[in-house]
Symmetry: C2
Subunit: 213 residues, 2 copies
């Protein structure tokens, strides 16, 4: 049985949840509480010294860094459920490049916006800082437009969707707190259509962060 | 024939050079010049819209993001030369986790030091800024100490070495320009021994950035 250490609201934990469901694996979801300091407890730091979620424990192996967890699940359970990465070498390389770009560039841009909004008390919000963070994020998202358009043609779900969707959902969540952010209006048609298509799927609905519901 | 777009001094380009040699692949190395603006030329941006090095073109496929290039080479040429990743699923997950940590955390720490030193004119160096960047980098490197110690036991070269070595070499290069940086003195015994062992290997010597020689 797989132990899946989960944090509600973390896009990285959501990614792993999607992957576990997609592959139809048996797992136990252990909910961590940020407020209770679960991530900084000694027992947790033994599993992940960085004190971040998620962590996956599968028998003798303990893994952190969500992109690596997905690669592990695909390697370990190649014939369970649906694939997380295309089998064709070239398309697989393209998928991995997108995931790498999400983790290295898109995440830092969305994190900057997150810090300037949800992680800052409302009365201290700096509109200029928020607006600069939003613009940088927008530039970054436009880089993925070709993929969002392609997504329709591919008609398959992969680790790319599982990595990207939770980040877009988080930005829309920020907009709920700050309705004049303008994100849903500035979304490219390709991104908007891609997001709407996934949003209606039960896989994405049932794994929605519990505390967002 | 593989076309390898290379930038002397880039740790990411060095990583790919090491991998190509390790696997004994045939390739043509195309040297890019930062000064001549090669990375911002239209023809280059067609290959990598981020204008970064390296890029690999192998027949119909064009790939950027060095970690992804290594995964591609391993997938495409599984029986050429030596492996870039262990075949055992659990050890492979550990290797990928280290590479992910190098790309997400260590690179941003070393980049911060690089920006504060080599990319800033000497007369504008801010000692406090440099010192803070150095401390953050040191904390990050200490996280890898267990791996450096293990490295001796594993006695194999993998994508982890190819990802990590160029970054350490770059920090030592910064120290040549700023001898009081104190990096070689503060290196943990595990890291120091790991680096020395690799440094003497011809693979690492022959691929050393040409403009450093």
């Amino acid at each position: 049985m797989i132990d899946f250490y989960y944090l509600s609201g973390s896009p990285f934990a959501w990614r792993v949840w999607l992957a576990l469901e997609h592959k139809g694996l048996q797992y136990q979801r252990i909910n961590l509480s940020f407020q209770n300091g679960d991530l900084k407890k000694k027992s947790y730091l033994m599993m992940n010294p960085r004190g971040k979620a998620p962590v996956l424990v599968d028998g003798e192996v303990t893994i952190y860094e969500s992109a690596v967890i997905l690669e592990y699940l695909e390697d370990k359970y190649p014939n369970m459920g649906a694939n997380l990465l295309p089998r064709d070498v070239n398309t697989r390389a393209l998928s991995r490049r997108l995931i790498n770009e999400i983790d290295v560039y898109l995440d830092s841009a969305s994190r900057r916006l997150l810090m300037a909004t949800l992680f800052t008390p409302k009365e201290q919000w700096d509109e200029e800082k928020i607006s600069r963070a939003f613009e940088a994020l927008d530039v970054e998202l436009k880089r993925f437009d070709e993929y969002f358009s392609l997504g329709f043609e591919l008609k398959i779900l992969s680790a790319v969707e599982f990595s990207m969707f939770p980040i877009i959902a988080l930005i829309l969540r920020i907009e709920e707190q700050k309705p004049d952010l303008g994100f849903s209006k500035s979304m490219s048609p390709a991104l908007g259509a891609w997001f709407t298509r996934l949003e209606t799927m039960s896989l994405f609905q049932t794994t929605r962060p519990p505390h967002w519901r």
